[in-house]
Amino acid sequence: MTEESPKPETPPNPAPKEQEKDAAKTEKTAEKPGFFDKLKTAWDKATEDKDRHFIEKVGIFFSTFFSDMKELNEDEKKAVAEAEASVKKSLDETSKDAQKAVELADTVEKSDKEFYQEVLDMGVASLKSLDADRQKSAHLGLKKLDTAVKTGKASEKEIFEIDEAFSLAGVGFMTFQKLKQKFPNKDDFKKALDRLSTVSDSSQYPLKKLLSRSVLGIFKVDIGLTDVDDVYKFVSDFGIPVTEILSVKDTLSGIGAKEMDDLQRQKIIDTMGKFFFPSTDIANVGYVVDLIRQLKLNGTAEIDTQTLTDLIFHIDDKDHSRLVAVLTGVKGSDEEKQLAEAA
């Protein structure tokens, strides 16, 4: 026996009620004309009656209204300007180490100055994220770098100690990583580097000079007997077994050899991939190896922005963070946190 299912009750059509509501609303609106409707009606009547007094009065009301609003807008601008001045003071105090570098020629446009300042802030943020000892080393390194930039070359006496080189290289890598976070597109990143390079020409520290072979010579670390612990830590942080240190060193030193066969090239790529760039695609490691080789062999006077961009975009972010962690002790998570904050 099939029971006839009861017909579902048709829900009451909400439309009429809605329509009623809408109609009531419209009626209400129609009943109560808006401010401008009222004004228009009165204005039309005043025009018809040739009532100049009404028009004058409305004019006075509006001009007083706009003058009051203008005053309030000025007050708002003043409040914002006061906040900006106070905020800028605190920011400049935080990045006072870099303020000398910020001094740009008056001819530099405001937007370029601001861009340059932001990149320098990234450098300051990177430096200040190091522990106290490493910050001290980085500062000492910066002093030497300062001399090298002024004289145009690294003097024998001013060559970095190992901890200075590690700290400063780490700060450099972190700064570029922050810049990459801001410009994740390769072309945009290259444009940003070009802009940085052009603007920095008007400063005491032109990027071209900083990346010149003669200045970068300062990174040829003078490793003394006291540095054995640092070297051992560096090597073990990269996971290179003590027994393999010499073979890894031999393999990598071959990167600048004039003659190199495919087997040697592959060995270098494998070694670099295994210990330094484990997360980077092996083809990209090959690209990086070839790039470093070209730089070594061609004796280019400086690392140009295209080469720098290529290097940064061919290395995986994880390997980049690992390199920074080994050089500076700033772990990936700390760095990622900072990058997220900067973004």
Binding site: V58, F62, A83, S86, A342
Partner: protein, 95 residues
């Protein structure tokens, strides 16, 4: 106003560094300071010392108080003139 300043200083004094950072980020969402300064704050926020954080927080929250008050005043002024012009228009229409 003086009472408010005293309260604000007390509030800042008991805030931790992390709380200050969060509060600054929140204030930045509505602040009218330039994008450049906002960007600089975001870059340096992670490494600022407590004094700098306190100063920035106080500056931004003072700005917010002032701007909010001005916005209220603007509303009141707008309403005042609207009512006056409306009354005038009503009178004219009824003539």
């Amino acid at each position: 106003m003086r009472k408010n300043n005293w309260r604000k200083r007390l509030k800042v004094a008991i805030m931790t560094k992390e709380e200050l950072k969060r509060a600054i980020k929140k204030l930045l969402e509505t602040s009218k300071i330039s994008d450049h300064l906002k960007s600089r704050i975001n870059i340096l926020l992670g490494v600022m010392d407590e004094t700098a954080l306190n100063n920035i927080y106080t500056s931004l929250s003072t700005e917010k108080d002032k701007v909010d008050k001005i916005a209220e005043k603007k509303k009141r002024v707008e309403l005042k003139y609207q009512v006056m012009v409306e009354k005038l228009s009503d009178m004219k229409s009824k003539q």
